[in-house]
Symmetry: D3
Subunit: 292 residues, 6 copies
C-alpha cells in the first residue's frame, strides 16, 4: 500500500495490565525493600481507611493514571477510585486527576511509587502535546524514538500517544531502520537495503536514515517505506520533501526542540521524531492530598 | 513504498542468545527437577569426558543446532563441538549434524533436552522446505502463522526461516491483521481499517482477511498493505489476484497442506501461510551416538 | 511390593493451577509482546461483552480445556464459561467443547493462545486414545516418554493421561532408567544397578533398558523393578515376556506407531512407551466461533 | 521388584549447579539489598586480594562446601580454592574445611551468606551422621522427611545424604504416601490404595501410614511398597516387623530423637524417618578466618 | 540524636504480603514439583470441603500464622479462617492457633508447607521470648543477627520481633557494622570510621566491633552510634559499659545462650545480639488436626 | 552518636554487578523483543569486529560507564574497553568517555541501551554536580529523594553520589521519615515519634518533616535524628537552624532548583534535598562514534 494517510491519535491504546502489573509490582518492591514501610506501619492503624486526591500542581496532560492507581490496588485492601482526568486529559494546576478511598497504610506506602510513575508519564505526555500543538495545521506528526528509560519503554511510548504523538518502532525487532552506523559497515545503501529485504517478512517496514540529498537520491532508488532525514536544516528538509514527492514517508530528526519544531514542520515532512520527549522532558508535578 | 519485491531467505537470523538461553535453562530444569539426573550421577564418574555425535536418523533440514548445543554448555564442564550441518542444511539419514566432546555426565543429562529441541525445530524446518520446494518457480512464498507452541514462538519462527520460509507477524503487537472476528464486531471493513489507521505508527503494516471477492473489492478501497484470502479455491484465488492487480500483497490461507499447495501457488498469490508447519509437522528423528 | 496390578486411568490428575498459570501467562505475554493487541484494541470497544464457543473441527479427545480457558481469565474482565467436553471427553467434528461469555477484547486477544494450547494437548490426547483403543483387551498400557516439548512437559504428560495413557517417569530425578549409553559408560549391568542401588532412596524405582535377550537374562539377576525392551520384534518381545515370567514389569519401546502397536501388545508386555504421542501427533483442529 | 537390598550411601549426589546457583544468588541479593555492602566497599580497596580459611569451630560432618564457595564465585573477581573436607567429611573443632584466595571485598561481602548456608547444611549432616552411627549394625536406614526449610529442600535433602542418611520422597509428586488424614477422607485403606493405583504410573511407589497393627494387617492385603509405622513403641514395631515378614519395607516414624533411635532400630525396621534432622538440628559452627 | 530510649516491641510490623507471597508460592511449588499432590488428588474428591485446626503440640510463641494460612489461600478454593493466637501470642501444648475451613485437597496439599513455615518461625519467636523473659528488668534488649536462613531473612527477623526481640540491621546495605575482618584490612579504627563516614548518607548509623577495652577506647574517639563488644566476659562488659558512659549504645555479642544471657544483661549493656535465635532454635511443634 | 560530621563523597560506591546485571539484561531484552536486531543482523557479518568511542556531546559529569559497557559484554563476543572518564569525571563536549573494541553486531545492537542508561545517569550526576558547586563553601550537602524512576533507584541514587551528592534513605524500610500525611493520621508529633520508637531497631534513624517553627519546637522535644524543614523561606530556615542549634541534623526541602539553592544553603542547613535531580534533570547527550 502506498502511503496511507496518517491520522491524529484519538484514543491511545493502553498497554495490557498483564504487561504493566509486573512493572508496578517491581517498583513497589524496590521501595518496600526489606519488607515494610516502617514509618507508616508504626503510626497508622491497620484497618484505617483514608480518602485522598491526586492533584496536578502544574498544567499538563495526564498519562498513566490507571497504571498508578494499580500501585494502590496491588498493595491490597478495599479500593475505590474515580478518575476525573483519564489519560490524555488536559489538567490545570489544582485540577483533581482522581480521588480514591483506600486503606490508609496502602495510601501512604504506595504514594511515592504512584506519583513517580504518574509524574514521569504525564511529563512525557505534556511535552508531546506541547509539540503537537506547535505543529498543528502543518500536517506533521510528532513521533517518539527508542531513547526511553530502560525498563519503561512500553509505558513511555504509551505516554507519547496520550500526548497526541505517534510511535516509531518499538524495538530492534519490529521494523527496520538503517542508520549511518549500519551504512558505514554495509558499504552502500543499495547493499544494505538488499540485505535487509532478503531477510524480513512481508509485514515489516523499512526506513533508512540519510544525511544528505545525495544519499536521499540513492535511497529513493531502493524499495523502502520511509526516509529519516537526519540533522537537516528546514531548507534542506523542504528540498528533500520535494525530491521524495510522496513516494515514501519523510521523517525529520536530530535535536529538535520546542523552539525549532515549527520551522521543521513547515518543510512539509510527514513525521518529526523527537528523542527529547522521553529523555529530556521533566516530570509533571502531581501530588497526593489526603483528606483530613 | 509499494510492494517491495519479496526474496528468498538465504541466511536466516538466529535469535539472540540472550533470548534463547532462558528457554534452554528452563527446559533443563524441567528435566532435572528435584536436583539431579539420579541415574547418570550414580553410574558415571564426575570428571569423565565423552565424545558423541548428533546424527540424523531421517532426511530433513536442520534448525536449532546451536540452541541445542547450548544445553550441554549450560550444564557445565569442558565443551568442544564441531557443527557439520548448521541450521538450514539438508541432511540424510545417517548424516552427522555435529560432534562434541564434553563431560560425560553433561552429555547424558543434556541429551534429551537437546534432542527434544533439535528434533522439533528441525521437523518444522523440514516441513517448510518441503513446501518451499513444492512451490519453487511459482514466485509464491511460504509463510508461517501464530499457531506455534506456547513459549517457543521465537524459535519456531526461526525454524521456518531455516526451512526457507518467511515469517508473518510475530505477535499481536507488531502488525495489524484484521480477521473475520474483528469484522463481526467492527461493522464494516471501512470502519475497521479507519479505526486502525488512527491508532498505529507509521512503521506498522495492515493486512485484512477476506472470505469473498465482494469483501476483497471493499478492502481494496482502503489503505491496506496486504489481503489474506481465506479458504478460497485456486480459482477464486486466481480471480482475487487479478482483481488486486499488484496493488497490495496477496496471501492465501486456510488448511493448506503439501497435497494442495502447488495449486494454490499457481493462482499467482504472493504468499501462502501454513499453520501446519508449526502445529502439525512431526519432529525430525535425530539421535545422539556416544562413542565407545 | 511385587508388580501391583496396572489399571486404566479413569480420572486423570489435572496439574495444579499454581503450576499451569505461569505457563499461560508467559504464552500470553509472548503474543502481546510490546504491550497490546493493536488490531483488537483499535477496533473493539473496551467494555463490550461477547459470547463464543470452542468447537472441535475434527473428531478427537479433549485435553487442556481448563488451562485454555485460563488464558481468558488472566486477560481480565467478566468471565463465564460452561464446559461440555471436559478433559478426556470424546468429541466429534462440530461438537461444542465449551461456551464462554467474556469481554470482547479479551476474547480476541486470548483466542490464539487458548487454541494453540488446547489444540496441541487435545492432539496428544487424541493420539493416545487411538493407541489405547488399538490395544484394548490385550492388557498392555500405553505410556509416554520424556520426548516432550521443552517447557510443556507437565501439560503434555497430563494430556497423555487424558487420552487414557499412563505416565512414565517425569524427569531425570524421580526414577532410575538405565539406558544403553549408561551401560556403555558403566561396564556391566550388574555394576550399573549396584551403583544406582547405593544412591537412591527407598521410594525410587529402577528400570533398565535391554536390547537383547542375553542382556535381559543378565538384568533379571539384579534388583530392578522393570525392563525396557528396546527395538525388539514382536517375537523377541514374546520370548522376553516369557523369560521375565512376571518377576518385573515389561515395557516395549522403539519407534512404535499405530500400525505396529497391536502386534507389540499381543506379545504380552505390560507397557508400551511411545514417543510419537508427544513429538509426532498433530494438533487437534479446534476453533473459536464468536456469536454474531 | 521385591524389596531390593538397601545400601549405605557412599558418595552422595550433589544437586546440579543449575539448581543451586539461583538459591545462592537470591541469598546474596537478600543480603546486599539496595546495592552494596556499604561497610566493606568504604573500607576495602577494590582490587585487593585476600586469603582466608573456612574453619570448623566444632566437630561435625560437612555439607554444602561447594555450594557455599559458589557465593564467592558469583560475587566475582579471581577465585582459587582448595577443599580439604569435601561434603560428607568428618571435621574436628579447628579443622580447615577449605582455604580460598579471592578479592577481599568479595570475601567480606560473601562471608555471611556462605557461612549461613554451610553451617545449616553441615548441621543437618552432622545430626544425620550421629543417628546413623547410633544405629550402626542394626541394618536400619536413617531417612529424612518433608519437614524442610521452605526453599532449601534440595540442599537439605542432600545434606542428609552427606551425613549418611537416605532420602524419602522429595515432594508430593514423586511418590505416594497415604497418611492418616487421607484415610480420614478416603474411607478405607483398600479404597485409598485402589484410588491411587488407578492413577499413578508404573515408576511410582506407594507407602501407607498405619497407627495400629489392625491397620497394618489391612494394609498388607493391598499392593503397596512400604508401610510407615507411626508413633509405635519398640515392642509394637517388633510385632509389626514380624507381621510384615519382608513382604514390604517397614519405616518407623514419630518424634524419634538420638535418645530413642537405637531401641527403634532394634525392632528390625528397615527405615527410620526423622523430621528433627531438618527442623531441629542446630547449625554447625563454622567461621571464616582471614589471613593477616 | 543521642541514644534515644529503646523500647519493647508491642506490635511487630508484619512484612508486606507483596514480599511474603512469592516465598510461599515458591515453597508450594517446591513441594508440588511436577504438577500434583498425587496422593491427595487420587483419594480426595475435588469439591470436598474440610475443617481443621492448627494446634500447638508444645508451649511457645506464635509467628507466621498469616503467612502460613497464605499457603492455603494460594492453593485456591473457598477459604475461611479464624486466628486465635495471632503472631506474638503465647500458646500451650494443645492450644488452637487457628481453625480453618477450606477445600479438602487444598488442606492436605498445603499442610506441610504451612507447618514447615509456621513451626520454624514460631520456634524463633519462642526462643526469643525465652531470652527476653530471662533478661526482663535488666533494661537489655535481645537483638537478632544476619545469621538467618538463606531466603527467609525478612520472615525470620519478623519472628524475632514477634518474640519481643528487636532487629539489628537487615543487610549489608542499610547500616554500617565494622567488624574485626574489616579492621584487619583497614589499618586502624580511625581510618575505618573515616572511610565510612565519607561515603554514607545522613540516615545511616555506624557500629563498630571491638574485642578489647583498648579498642573500645580508640573507638569512642570516633563518630559512631554503637559499639559491639565481642566475646567479652560479664566483667569486661561491665567495664566497657562504664567506659562508654552512655555516649553510644552498647551491644554484647558472641555465643550467648539461655544459660549465660542474664549475666551478660546484668553488665548493663543496652543490647544483646544472639545468632542462636535464627541458626540454632528448633522449630515449634505444631500440627494440623482435620476434623472427622 | 550525635551529629557526626558530614563529608563530601570522594569515591562513590558502585552498586554490585549482581544487582545491576539483571537491569541491563532486561533493558536489552526490552529492545531485542521478538529475538533479533533485524536491521543489524541482516547487514553486518557475524564475526566482524568494530572499534568505537563513547563521546560526550555536551559538558557534564559521567555516571554509569561500567553499567553501560555491561550491555556490550552481555550481548557477547570479544570485549575490550578502556575507560577515560570513569564515573564522577567531568567531561567536555567532545571528550572521549571510553573506547571499545567488540563484535560489530554487539556494538550496534547494544548502542541504544548503553546510551539510554549512560545518558540518563550522567544527566543526574551532572545536575547534582551543578548544585554541589553552587553551594560549595556553605557546608550544605546536596541530597537526593525517593522521586526516582521506577526500577532504577539503585542506579539513580548512585548517579547522585557520582555527582558529589549524598543519599537520603533508599526506601520505606531503611529509615524513618515522618511526613505531613503521617502526622495527619497520627495525631501529634509526640505520638508519631513514640509509635515509631517502639518498633524500630537500634540501627535505624528517625527524621521528621515540619512545616512551621511551632512544629519544629514540638519535634525538638522528641528523640529524633534529623528534621526536614519543608517549603520554608531562607529566613525561616535560618531561624530554624538557630532553634535547632546543632542538636539534630537540618534538611531543607521543597521545590529547590539551581536558582534558589544558594540562598537555601546560606541559611546554614546541613542538607538540601532536591527531587529535581532524579525527576527533572535531562539526560546528558552522549554518542557512540564507530570508527570507519
Amino acid at each position: 500500500m502506498q502511503n496511507a494517510p496518517l491520522h491524529a491519535l484519538p484514543t491511545p491504546f493502553e498497554p495490557h495490565r498483564l504487561v504493566v502489573e509486573p512493572l508496578i509490582r517491581a517498583a513497589l518492591l524496590e521501595d518496600i525493600g526489606h519488607g515494610n514501610d516502617i514509618t507508616t506501619d508504626a503510626i497508622v492503624a491497620p484497618g484505617r481507611i483514608a480518602s485522598a486526591q491526586l492533584v496536578a500542581r502544574a498544567p499538563g496532560v495526564t498519562a498513566g493514571v490507571n497504571a498508578s492507581l494499580l500501585a494502590f490496588q496491588l498493595l491490597g485492601g478495599p479500593f475505590e477510585a474515580r478518575v476525573f482526568a483519564p489519560d490524555g486529559s488536559h489538567v490545570e494546576a489544582g485540577s483533581t486527576i482522581a480521588d480514591l478511598r483506600v486503606n490508609a497504610r496502602t495510601l501512604l506506602t504506595g504514594e511515592r511509587t504512584a506519583l513517580n510513575l504518574l509524574g514521569r508519564l504525564s511529563g512525557i505526555a505534556t511535552a508531546t502535546r506541547r509539540l503537537v500543538d506547535l505543529v498543528a495545521g502543518t500536517g506533521a506528526h510528532v513521533v517518539c524514538t527508542r531513547k526511553t528509560t530502560p525498563g519503561l519503554r512500553v509505558l513511555e511510548k504509551y505516554a507519547v500517544r496520550c500526548g497526541g504523538g505517534s510511535n516509531h518502532r518499538f524495538g530492534l525487532d519490529d521494523a527496520v531502520l538503517i542508520k549511518d552506523n549500519h551504512l558505514a559497515l554495509a558499504g552502500s545503501i543499495h547493499d544494505a537495503v538488499a540485505a535487509v529485504r532478503t531477510q524480513i517478512g512481508h509485514m515489516v517496514k523499512v526506513e533508512i536514515e540519510v544525511d544528505t540529498l545525495e544519499q536521499l537520491e540513492e535511497a529513493l532508488r531502493e524499495p523502502i517505506d520511509a526516509v529519516l532525514l537526519d540533522n537537516m536544516s528546514p531548507e534542506q528538509l523542504a528540498q528533500a520533501v520535494a525530491m521524495v514527492d510522496g513516494r515514501v514517508l519523510t521523517e525529520a530528526s536530530g535535536g529538535i526542540r520546542p523552539e525549532t519544531i515549527l520551522a521543521v514542520a513547515n518543510s512539509g515532512v510527514n513525521l518529526i521524531s523527537v528523542g527529547w520527549l522521553t529523555h529530556g522532558a521533566p516530570s509533571l508535578d502531581i501530588g497526593l492530598d489526603i483528606e483530613p
